[in-house]
Amino acid sequence: MWFEILRLIVNATGETLYMVAVSALIGSLIGGPLGIFLATSRRGELFAAPAVNGILGIVVNATRSTPFIILVVAIIPFTRLVAGTSIGTSAAIVPLTIATIPFVARLIETAIRDVDPGLVEAARAMGATRLQIVSKVLIAEARPGITLGITLTVVSLIGYSAMVGAVGGGGLGDLGIRYGYQRFMPSVMLAVVVVLIVLVQIVQTVGDLLARHFDKRARRT
């Protein structure tokens, strides 16, 4: 019995990690450049395109304001198109990724905006191309902020992934609801919560350490 529950928890943890890792990765790969573009495309900036910036901003806001569980259901046709099915762990990655993109984009936009505009000016004065400015100045200088943003994204994804049980996504949240709530097994619920807390704790600690490592600015004490 206990062995069985342990097996369930291990499996569910694996599913959660799989969903979170894949959607964080793809979401960051798309959301990162989107965030950089949002941060640099306003009037007078590096990639000035105020109209596109405005439209993208609205799309990002709209996606972010849609409750995740509604997003999961609303994009089922799209999920089926991409994943071939709308049910299961792999299918759940689609809505998780869609929700991650604008989330990451806003966080990275903020991190990039925090970079001193004087550094961009200095790089321009050196004869840097726009892509060199992005890679050698903006991303390099925003690394602590970007790291913290992605950490926050992963932590949030761990929470979001609990909801994809609704479409058979599995994972820890799903296990907690089905066993802990529907089958009246509070100990399973407790175990799930403990595993989630440990996961979040690990992610946050690693993220903080990395961000600290990247941050060479003077520390205020």
Binding site: L119, A125, M126, T129
Partner: protein
């Protein structure tokens, strides 16, 4: 200097012509910005003409908002003029596209008030950045960066991050970085304004050394008159988007013509009369009043015992009210304010006596 018509420029003639051509020339440059509301235009520069001689250290001074920052940013194309042209080393940079500007910018170094060093890069990597941008390979970068760090006296700090350095050290890194691509022109945007006076002196000393050793043309903008006094060969005063006065530093500082220049220099050069004198000073002579005369020492006669001779030969009673000796671009400039018990006639003779010794005088007023 223009060659006479019909004469072809070649050989030494051409070389001389190029040497005479200014490093930077602003021709009829205007720049206006849309204001915050977007409707009204704010004129930052107004049909400005100005030339920076090759291998000089030229300072542009002015109040904040006078258009200094805009002016210096036109040189490397960070700003574009609304009209007119900016010629740097024979190239009209105002006509170049962003991509055509890139190689030009590599030949123009720039240092900033807030240093603008990348916090995520070490001292070494900050100096290497312009070389990386220019596509220089790793080995050539190393061969370039270490001598530069030696030049600015920071070779032992190459692995440190900017946050571990003092303000003066950060600006030294900024200077090394600006020199990395062997520029012909160095622009300094208020580079010492965030530094204390002692650090300012050492940074200016470094700029002077670089100017002398590398023959680099240095263009500084500043609102600090002390900076100009210490480092500049030439100075230009900008006010209301125009150059209102320019010349070699010594003449501008000792004989300022424009009211703006006079205001800017008021606290920097010469003497300040104590309040008890200024409050009693009247512009018209009164019977029994003493004349207050400023004596200006500029030439080699500064060593003559002028006042003693004056008292002796004319039987005057002299009283020293204030005095100061300044050093302006390496030359002494002395001012002495004396009062003398002289009537109009004696005063004229006394002034003639002083002028004969090669000094200048100015009557400030009369006190009872």
């Amino acid at each position: 200097m223009n060659a006479p018509a019909g004469q072809r420029l070649e050989g030494p003639g051409l070389a001389a012509h190029i040497a005479q051509e200014p490093a930077i020339a602003f021709r009829n440059v205007s720049k206006s910005f849309a204001d915050a509301g977007g409707a009204a235009k704010v004129t930052a520069l107004d049909a400005l003409d100005f030339a920076v001689p090759r291998s000089s250290i030229t300072c542009i001074i002015g109040r904040s908002g006078a258009g200094k920052s805009t002016l210096i940013r036109l040189v490397n194309g960070l700003e574009k003029p609304t009209s007119g042209s900016v010629i740097v080393d024979g190239t009209d940079v105002s006509a170049l596209s962003e991509s055509a500007l890139r190689p030009v910018r590599r030949s123009i170094g720039m240092i900033f008030q807030h240093f603008n060093l990348l916090t995520s890069r070490t001292v070494y990597d900050n100096v290497a950045l312009p070389l990386e941008i220019a596509g220089v390979n790793r080995r050539a970068i190393e061969a370039k960066v270490m001598p530069l760090l030696d030049l600015v006296g920071l070779a032992d700090k190459s692995r440190r991050y900017p946050s571990e350095l003092s303000g003066g050290q950060k600006q030294r890194v900024g200077i090394a970085r600006a020199l990395a691509t062997d520029p012909k022109v160095l622009l300094s945007d208020e580079a010492t304004s965030a530094l204390d006076p002692e650090t300012t002196r050492s940074i200016l000393g470094l700029l002077k050394r670089i100017n002398a050793e590398l023959g680099l043309t240095v263009l500084l903008i500043t609102h600090e008159m002390q900076v100009v006094k210490q480092v500049a060969d030439r100075v230009a005063v900008i006010d209301g988007g125009r150059i209102v006065e320019e010349g070699d530093t010594y003449s501008v500082f000792t004989r300022p013509q424009h009211p703006t220049t006079r205001t800017l220099l008021a606290d920097v050069v010469g003497v300040h009369l104590p309040a008890f004198v200024t409050s009693r000073l009247s512009p018209e002579p009164k019977p029994g009043a003493d004349a207050v005369v400023k004596v200006i020492f500029t030439g080699p006669n500064a060593t003559e015992p002028v006042l003693a001779k004056l008292g002796e030969t004319m039987g005057l009673h002299l009283n020293i009210l204030a005095g100061a000796v300044d050093e302006i671009s390496g030359r002494p400039y002395g001012t002495l304010v004396v009062s003398m018990d002289a009537g109009p006639e004696t005063l004229a003779r006394a002034r003639g006596f002083i002028h004969d010794l090669g000094l200048e005088t100015e009557v400030l007023g009369y006190v009872v």
